[in-house]
């Protein structure tokens, strides 16, 4: 790969994982080139930059690719360390932030996917699990402004992109997130007031349109 100077992000518009990278870059005020990827016919650049997973997002910095969204966010935080730190400096607080971002990674997307993809008993089970996950995260947030405490941080970046999928989860699962995790909804509204988040996330209805397209594609009624 040519050692081009600068920052490029290979991404897909609605991906919550890609949005994590976009939000982190925006928080740091980093200029970068956004390259929308076709996930059905993957580009040579994507395949060359992420030969292991062939997935987005991929951050290419001065010709060197970084893959996996949380690895990317930590990289962004460490390289552009002079502005808006996302991870705390204290090792224990850092470990806690990593733990909860890891929890979001392990749980939210998979459970959400099962919620819209499955029917009947399996869907009910996914809904029950999603409610548990959200209530646990809400308990972790407590009365803090953000998961990072007073400042928007790593866990907020990791989790907020899923906020605009909540409408899809609610509609498919037939439940209200506000009813089960009201503090989380307020947290999400606070995050959406940040330019980095507001400019990155798509309208929940647009996300729902995408989910409906996926459902059709996978033959789910």
């Amino acid at each position: 790969m040519a050692s081009e100077k600068g920052v490029t992000l290979l991404d897909f518009w609605v991906s919550p994982f890609g949005q994590r990278a976009r939000i982190a870059l925006a928080e740091k005020g980093v200029q970068y080139e956004y390259k929308e990827q076709n996930l059905v016919e993957k580009s040579d650049l994507l395949l060359k930059s992420n030969p292991v997973y062939k997935k987005i997002p991929v951050l290419i910095h001065d010709g060197k690719p970084v893959c996996e969204s949380l690895v990317i966010v930590q990289y962004i935080d460490e390289v552009w360390s002079d502005k808006s730190p996302l991870l705390p400096s204290d090792p224990y607080q850092k470990a806690q932030a990593r733990f909860w971002a890891d929890y979001v990674d392990k749980k939210v997307f998979d459970c959400g996917t099962r919620l819209w993809k499955l029917k009947g008993e399996e869907q009910e089970a996914a809904k029950k699990e999603m409610i548990e996950i959200l209530q646990l995260l809400e308990a972790q947030l407590g009365d803090n402004k953000y998961f990072g405490g007073d400042t928007f941080g790593y866990v907020d970046v990791a989790f907020i992109p899923f906020n605009n999928w909540f409408y899809s989860y609610e509609t498919c699962g037939n439940f209200s997130i506000e009813a089960v995790a009201p503090k989380l909804v307020k947290w999400a509204k606070r995050c959406m007031e940040r330019e980095s988040v507001a400019k990155t996330l798509y309208d929940p209805n647009k996300v729902y349109e995408f989910v409906c397209y996926l459902k059709k594609k996978f033959g789910v009624e």
Binding site: V52, Y92, R98
Partner: protein, 242 residues
């Protein structure tokens, strides 16, 4: 005065506990190893890791840290001395990427290869071979994944270095061998020879007996017990490369 005692809740049979133990030994940290009986989890474990209820958990004074890779990074940052992760941000990103690759791909594929049979097993074996080949390539020109000395990826790979040989013996498969993976096997030997590692490894015969008893249970219930990163069993591999 602030309590600075260090306790590691773990089990000798767990490669994840081993990772945390090696990290502490590399940093020369005085710690107490508290053996957990995973069939009867202690109040201490449940209190310090209420979310996942798993080992290892590092208890540093009043602070609890769970998830082995997170424990390693905490130990690296909280204690002076040996550098487990590189200082360059790009190298750190690479280390984190490959550590996750081991957890997300290498271990699950190998594990499922051990505890399945027939066509499904063939699929997992193919997957496992691919992941081991990909990982081995990262060792090209290096003694360890971390370079001249062991680092995050070497610790993450401990299961490959020691446990895989035991597992395949019990399962009756021959995946990781010198003929097919000479570089990885050489690395495994070098990794196990590092003092901090050898002091943290379980007795091999104990491990063989442990997995042999697990094998019967798993084939009897037809439900391979698997703790993947996603916390749920892997689906059988797709025929085409998705």
């Amino acid at each position: 005065m602030e309590d600075t005692t260090v306790k590691l809740l773990g089990t000798k049979g767990s490669p994840f506990s081993h990772r945390a133990e090696v990290a502490l030994r590399l940093k020369d940290v005085k710690f107490e190893f508290l053996h957990e009986d995973l069939a009867h989890k202690s109040d201490m474990l449940l209190r310090h890791n209420p979310i996942h209820k798993k080992v290892p958990v590092l208890v540093h004074g009043e602070k609890s840290i769970a998830e082995s890779l997170i424990v390693i990074e905490y130990v690296d940052e909280a204690f002076e001395g040996y550098n487990i992760l590189p200082s360059d941000p790009y190298e750190r990103a690479m280390a984190r990427f490959w550590a996750r690759f081991i957890d997300d791909k290498v271990i699950p594929a190998f594990w499922m290869s051990c505890w399945t049979d027939g066509e499904i097993q063939k699929g997992f074996i193919a997957q496992s071979k691919e992941t081991l080949t990909t990982l081995q390539r990262q060792l090209e020109g290096k003694k360890f994944f971390g370079g001249d000395s062991i680092g995050l990826v070497d610790l993450a790979g401990c299961m490959i270095a020691f446990w895989f040989a035991v597992l395949q013996e019990v399962a009756g498969i021959n995946l990781l061998n010198e003929e097919d993976y000479p570089v990885l096997c050489r690395w495994a030997e070098d990794y196990c020879s590092v003092r901090a590692v050898s002091e943290s490894l379980p007795d091999k015969s104990f491990l063989v007996a442990h997995f042999a008893s697990k094998k019967e249970k798993m084939f009897a219930t037809k439900a391979p017990l698997l703790s993947t990163k996603a916390g749920r069993p892997l689906p059988p591999p797709l025929k085409s490369n998705g």
